[in-house]
């Protein structure tokens, strides 16, 4: 079984457990496993950009250095961890930032030798496993289900550094949706911000941004929205005061399609329970 060094981050063992659990279980069905990297530290949850803010990037860089001792690939699942770790690595590897590199690596004082790629779980599905192999393992095709793949900000921007997908019209989750037998819906707000961390002190603003995403997905005929970011899931699912569209992690529906028991997939953690909708579609 292929094994990947895995960076879970702070939210995936607590408020987004179901993302971590469903992702691991689904990957096991596909013949691979995630092995938590030892001694990881918080990535910082957002990338600090001020040119001289070396300290603000040390945590993320420390993870890169430690991961480089384990292998050539580090898998992330949380969109924020993916964004921050990948940007921190690009920063430290850029010859234009030689001063920062030297000072930060001296401070961390652990060997950074090997090239290590920061990838997202979706990269593993797309590149290493492949859609045909995913399709071959589908035990319960999600026929009749229309899904809006919501990428938000952190998976796709800044595009030059992340190089993950088209920053205006990304496709990877839509490809997965198709492989699972469901129907991807086109909608306008695939990469529109949910309001992100503004939920902490400007809930009004975050609520408005999130509501726009849900309403747009609804208008295009989606039965549910899928995401890979705990904060997008929270803002869309919990801040709403109107629309009832379910908001799930893509891994939960991946698990369902691969034949895992619905009870194992953490559906009860959603504020708007997706199970009645799934039952109506004959999928539970």
């Amino acid at each position: 079984m292929a094994s990947y060094a895995y960076y879970p981050g702070c939210t995936l063992y607590t408020k987004a457990r179901e993302l971590d659990l469903s992702a691991r279980k689904a990957l096991a069905v596909l013949g691979a496993e995630l092995e938590e990297m030892p001694a990881w530290v918080c990535c910082g949850a957002i990338y600090n950009t001020a040119d001289d803010d070396f300290a603000g990037r040390i945590g993320a860089t420390r993870n890169i250095v430690r991961a480089s001792a384990l292998g050539d690939t580090l898998v992330t699942l949380c969109a924020a961890c993916y964004n921050v770790l990948k940007r921190a690595k690009a920063r430290i590897d850029d010859p234009a930032n030689a001063v920062e590199r030297e000072r930060v690596l001296n401070f961390i004082d652990e060997p950074y030798e090997r090239e290590v790629r920061v990838v997202h779980y979706l990269d593993v599905l797309r590149r290493d496993i492949g859609w045909d192999a995913v399709k071959a393992k589908v035990a319960k095709p999600l026929a009749g289900l229309k899904l809006a793949s919501y990428y938000g900000c952190l998976m796709v921007r800044p595009a030059a550094v992340l190089d993950f997908d088209d920053p205006e019209d990304p496709q990877v989750m839509d490809e997965l949706v198709r492989a699972l037998g469901a129907e991807p819906v086109r909608f306008d707000f695939k990469t529109e911000c949910c309001g992100g961390y503004l939920v902490v002190n400007r809930k009004d603003v975050a609520r408005e941004s999130s509501a726009r995403v849900l309403e747009n997905a609804r208008a295009w005929g989606a039965d549910a929205v899928i995401t890979t970011c705990p904060l997008c899931q929270y803002n869309l699912d919990r801040l709403r005061d109107r629309d009832g569209l379910p908001v799930l992690y893509f891994t939960q529906l991946l698990g369902l399609a691969l034949g895992l028991e619905p009870d194992e997939l953490g559906f009860d953690n959603c504020a708007v329970d997706p199970r009645p909708m799934l039952a109506e579609k004959g999928l539970l």
């Binding site: 949850a45 950009t49 924020a80 911000c193 961390y197 939920v199 902490v200 904060l231």
Partner: protein, 133 residues
């Protein structure tokens, strides 16, 4: 091509912290049009940059707009001139937050117990890193 130096030292330090060239902006408004917070943000991205072009950095640093950026990176993605306002807003906040007076917008004391229970910690980390000194 070399750029004329910015007039105000404050604008020069914002340019240094952000790595952006304020004079590159030609005020097309794409950033503001795409900003998901643009309606609530005062000044919105293009207007904020205009203030810097006019040497009125103080007005921007005193504004609420720089504290409403969600770092969604749409403005920089869509700018036809390669200007990234998210980095400029962060530089402005850095200038304010590094002053000796306390000026952060968030902290443990601004969070209710209920929000602490509910909101993913990812949001607290991000918010505190962007909005507290």
């Amino acid at each position: 091509m070399s750029k004329p130096p910015s007039v105000s030292p404050l604008v020069r330090s914002i340019e240094a912290l952000s790595g952006q060239v304020i004079a590159d902006c030609y005020q097309c408004g794409c950033c503001t049009a795409g900003c998901p917070i643009g309606e609530a943000m005062d000044p919105p991205p293009s207007k904020a940059i205009r203030l810097l072009q006019l040497g009125r950095a103080g007005e921007l640093l005193d504004s609420e707009g720089i504290w409403l950026c969600a770092s969604c990176m749409v403005c920089g993605t869509r700018c036809p001139r390669g200007v990234d306002y998210a980095l400029i807003a962060e530089a402005c906040r850095a200038v304010v937050l590094r002053r000796p007076v306390r000026s952060g917008r968030v902290g443990p004391e601004t969070v209710t117990d209920e929000d602490c229970e509910e909101i993913p910690q990812q949001a607290f980390m991000a918010s505190f890193r962007k909005f507290s000194g």
